[in-house]
Amino acid sequence: MTSQNSSNRSKSSAPLSCADFQQQLPDLFAASSESLPDDPALLEHLKTCENCSALVRDLQYIADQARQLLEPTHEPSDNVWEKIQKSLATEPTYVANPNKQ
C-alpha cells in the first residue's frame, strides 16, 4: 500500500485487510518500536485480527530476543592472535616492550 492509498483509506475509514496491514509493518516497526501506531484503522485491525496481532507479537519478540545475541559466545582460535602478532612485528610503530625504549 502506498502512502497515498493509506491516506485515502484513513479518510474513508474502510477496514484494513490483512494484506494492507502487513504491507505497512516494515514502516510501523521502524517508526514505533516501543509504541503502538496512532492510525485508528491500524489499531482497529490489530485489535480485531487475531492472526495479525499474533504476527506482530512474534516479530516484536524476535527483535527483542535478538539483543541477547549481542553477548559474544564465540572465541577465535589462538592462531588469530599469533598471526596478528607476526604482522604487527613488521609495523614500524609497534613497540614490543615500551619499557626498553
Binding site: L55, D58, A66, V95, P98
Partner: protein
C-alpha cells in the same frame, strides 16, 4: 578512516547504546598506550574485544575461516587507525563500525553486490518468507532460546542476515545501514522485516533433532 568510500566517523552515542557498551575497566588507559604503539596495551585490547569482533564477523560471514581472517584484519586495522579514535563514541562501537566496514568491503571484493539488496541477494522463492494470512499457530513468545535463534539466524539468506545482524543484534539504525550497504533506508526496513518473517517461519518449525528423535521413537 575511509574503507572503500565508507567514512569511518565517530557517531555520537545513541540513547541506550551506553547500556549496550558499558565502560570497561582499564580500557581507556590501554587505548592511550596502544596509540603509542605499546604491544602490551594492544594485547589487552585484543583480549577485551576479540570475542565480540569475532562473533560479529562469524554472524556476518557464516564461516569460521573467513571470520578468523577478518578478525585478524580488523585488529591490524585497529592498530593502524587507533590514533584517530578520539573517544566521542564508545570504543567498542567504533571498533564494531570498523569491523562491519571491513567485512562489507571483503564481501564486495568477493563479488557479493550489496548495492541493491533487493535485486542482487534477494533469496529464491523457496527462501522467501511467506505472508501470514492463514490460521493462527503457536506463539513464539517464551519458546525461543538463544541456541535456536542463533541457528535460525545462521540459516537466513545473506542479505536478510546482514540487515538483521546489523539492526536487531548490533543496534545500528536504518539510515546507518543504508549508508553502509549503499541502499535506501526503505530497502533496509524491508529486508529487516523479511528477515524477521523468515526467522518466525524457521523458529516455528520443529527442531530437526527433535523431529528425528520422534521419528526414531515411533519406529
Amino acid at each position: 578512516m575511509e574503507v572503500q568510500g565508507l567514512q569511518m566517523t565517530e557517531s555520537k552515542t545513541a540513547p541506550g547504546l551506553f547500556k549496550r557498551n558499558p565502560p570497561i575497566a582499564g580500557e581507556a588507559e590501554a587505548i592511550e598506550r596502544a596509540k603509542a604503539g605499546d604491544a602490551e596495551a594492544f594485547s589487552k585490547l585484543y583480549a577485551l574485544h576479540k570475542r565480540r569482533v569475532y562473533t560479529l564477523c562469524l554472524r556476518m560471514l557464516g564461516n569460521v575461516s573467513e571470520a578468523e581472517d577478518m578478525t585478524q584484519e580488523a585488529f591490524l586495522h585497529l592498530f593502524r587507525k587507533i590514533g584517530s579514535f578520539r573517544g566521542e563514541s564508545a570504543f567498542s562501537t567504533w571498533l564494531h563500525r570498523l569491523t562491519v566496514n571491513l567485512v562489507l568491503m571483503h564481501l564486495r571484493k568477493k563479488g557479493l553486490q550489496l548495492v541493491s539488496l533487493e535485486e542482487t541477494i534477494n533469496p529464491s522463492e523457496e527462501d522467501s518468507p511467506k505472508r501470514d494470512f492463514g490460521s493462527r499457530d503457536t506463539q513464539l513468545a517464551g519458546s525461543v532460546d538463544r541456541v535456536a535463534l542463533e541457528r535460525a539466524v545462521a540459516s537466513l539468506p545473506p542479505g536478510y542476515r546482514m540487515v538483521f545482524v546489523l539492526h536487531d543484534v548490533e543496534g545500528f539504525e536504518h539510515n546507518e545501514i543504508a549508508v553502509m550497504l549503499e541502499c535506501s533506508t526503505g530497502n533496509s526496513k524491508s529486508q529487516l522485516h523479511k528477515a524477521r518473517l523468515k526467522l518466525r517461519e524457521l523458529l516455528r518449525q520443529p527442531e530437526p533433532t527433535q523431529e528425528a528423535d520422534l521419528k526414531e521413537a515411533a519406529l
